[in-house]
Amino acid sequence: MSAAALNVKDLSVWIETESGRRRIVDNISFSIKSGEALGLVGESGCGKTMTAFAILGTLPATGATIECAAIEINGRDISRLSSSQRRSVLGRDIAMIFQQPGTALDPVFNIGQQITAVHRRHVGGGKDKTRQAMLDSLSQVGFNQPGKIAAAYPHELSGGMRQLAMIAMATVCNPAVLIADEPSTALDSASRALVLQQIKRLQEDHGTAILMVSHDLSVIRQSCQNVMVMYCGRLLEKTDCESLFSHARHPYSAGLISCIPQIDAAKQPRIKAIPGQVPIPSELPSGCHFAPRCGHAIVQCEQSVPGFATDSSHSVACFRPL
């Protein structure tokens, strides 16, 4: 376990609602090794982004509380840092890129200023060194005229180029862990291919550990070795991508796979939607949260919660795995 770049133990997130406290991330544990990309997949509202923010310790929702045994980056627990200590970790040891680069970048500073600010804060070493690091990080994500991009403001770039600029900003200090929250969802297919390719390169060339959050299993399959399936705050299945696609054991995972439209429709059956929708946190069923939408559910599923072993290579939380 010491080799893990990111190690999350027993993480739960609670929010206060009008009808009481709700647990929206339910006791999840996982770890990512250096050079590994782990996908976190699930529908909107299942707690993926809350998990990401909880790891960073920057939960946007007021009144949200985090409980965890530990969140370790290269063996160092960051879950109990003061806010000033945390500021020295975020951006240097762990960084995040967001779904909407247009809103995550500051419109009144040019790209170069925003990237150098990160480098100056964490590394420093003078104006020239910082500028060089900024230009290097831009050329690393594939810009062949980094100076030109550095002088541009976010609105002058296309969505795909903004996302690449954000990757450059996130990686200018060469963090051990990168969290990518739906990095390609708002992009068209050409930009998406490029962004995923750059994230993959970070993982392969720099040994960055990557947590890739997405609702789209096809994106996860493209960019990750391993995958966790999340539903209503709980992990339902965790395995490597190939096993998941060849033999998904949880009915929910299988449902997500059958939702993916296939380009090669000659070979594939048409898409099949999962009936129903994600329950809201105040109306969670007891037992297995997925039971009401599940075609395989039995009485036991509605009464008790299936366990989830975290150590085996293919874990599944289901009484009747496929």
Partner: protein, 322 residues
């Protein structure tokens, strides 16, 4: 219902040499022509900014083109008298990408669905009430939603309401402008299934605009590819996905199936001077003639229909054929 007033030879929709410039962008639509038969689905694909949505808005007469015609049932909508245009507008409806911004937050579902019926003076009160109930059922919502406001629904349900609003006037043509792009893969699958069902039961023609080729593959009969305002390829879907002709289409398909390494070149949209063939600056199969001469539109005949492609690569074949 009232579909029998069109002749078998006239397509439901014919866009003929449509051109449109914006003050800040010349040739946002550049001589675009295509036809759509009643009850069929045309998938209009292309990267962001290719002019897909401008075409949709021109068909709805929300934009006035600089040149060209949009023939609906054989009549040019830009020359229609007031009453005919009103009827055409009833028969052409649109569903937008973001249901949260296309539904009025201040109207209940009932008010939203009543509005088009009132506007087009369709039916009496009893008819309207039963039509609203029937349409809700068609899109898979319960009657109890009628008194609720858009924010009380999930995105998928909001999109169902937007579809119901479009369906309630019994349209012959429904334009879906990235209607599933903002949705989760699982919700996207549900909406795609709904659209397929609508088409089978009601025989509505769809102009389905999307940048996602896998989605287009699921539902389109024909595919048209736009790039920088021009239509580069137009063919039956089966042919397009098995034998794409234009280098741009091939590139799009390889991005979509993650087969090819993407190149940053593909994202950098700004060129000072567009080459004669608008794709020449990025084309992997560029020839000297592509810089000099605008390619003509070549027709390749396949057993399942006409395949049009605007590319010099087919110059020679074209002369051989004719």
């Amino acid at each position: 219902m009232n579909k029998h007033h069109q002749q078998a030879t006239t397509p439901l929709l014919e866009v003929h040499e449509l051109s449109l410039s914006y003050p800040h962008q010349e040739n946002a639509i550049d001589r675009v022509s295509f036809k759509l038969e009643a009850g069929k689905t045309l998938g209009l694909v292309g990267a962001s900014g290719a002019g897909k949505s401008s075409v949709a808005r021109a068909i709805l007469h929300l934009l006035k083109p600089d040149a060209g015609a949009v023939l609906f049932d054989g009549q040019n909508i830009f020359n229609m008298d007031h009453d005919t245009l009103r009827d055409a507008r009833r028969r052409i409806q649109i569903v937008f990408q973001e249901p949260s911004s296309s539904l009025s937050p201040r109207r209940t579902v009932k008010q939203t669905l009543l509005e088009p019926l009132r506007h087009f003076a369709i039916g009496d009160n009893d008819y309207r009430q039963s039509k609203i109930r029937q349409t809700l059922q068609t899109v898979g919502l319960d009657e109890e939603v009628l008194s609720r406001y858009p924010h009380q629904f999930s995105t998928g349900q909001q999109q169902r309401i937007a579809i119901a609003r479009a369906l309630i006037t019994n349209p012959d043509l429904l334009i879906a402008d990235e209607a599933v792009s903002a949705l989760d893969v699982s919700i996207q699958a549900q909406i795609l299934q709904l659209i397929q069902a609508l088409q089978q039961e009601h025989g509505i023609a769809f102009l389905f605009i999307s940048h996602d080729l896998a989605v287009i593959r699921q539902i389109a009969d024909d595919v048209a590819v736009m790039y920088r305002g021009q239509l580069l390829e137009h063919s039956p879907a089966g042919t397009f996905f098995s034998q794409p002709a234009h280098p741009y289409s091939k590139a799009l398909l390889s991005f979509a199936s993650f087969n090819a390494p993407a190149q940053l070149k593909a994202l950098q949209a700004t060129v000072e001077q567009l080459p004669a063939c608008i794709y020449a600056d990025r084309c992997t199969e560029k020839m000297p003639v592509c810089e000099r001469l605008e390619p003509g539109i070549h027709n390749i005949r396949h057993k399942n229909g006409l395949h049009c492609v605007k590319c010099h690569l087919y110059d020679e074949k074209n002369t051989n054929d004719s």
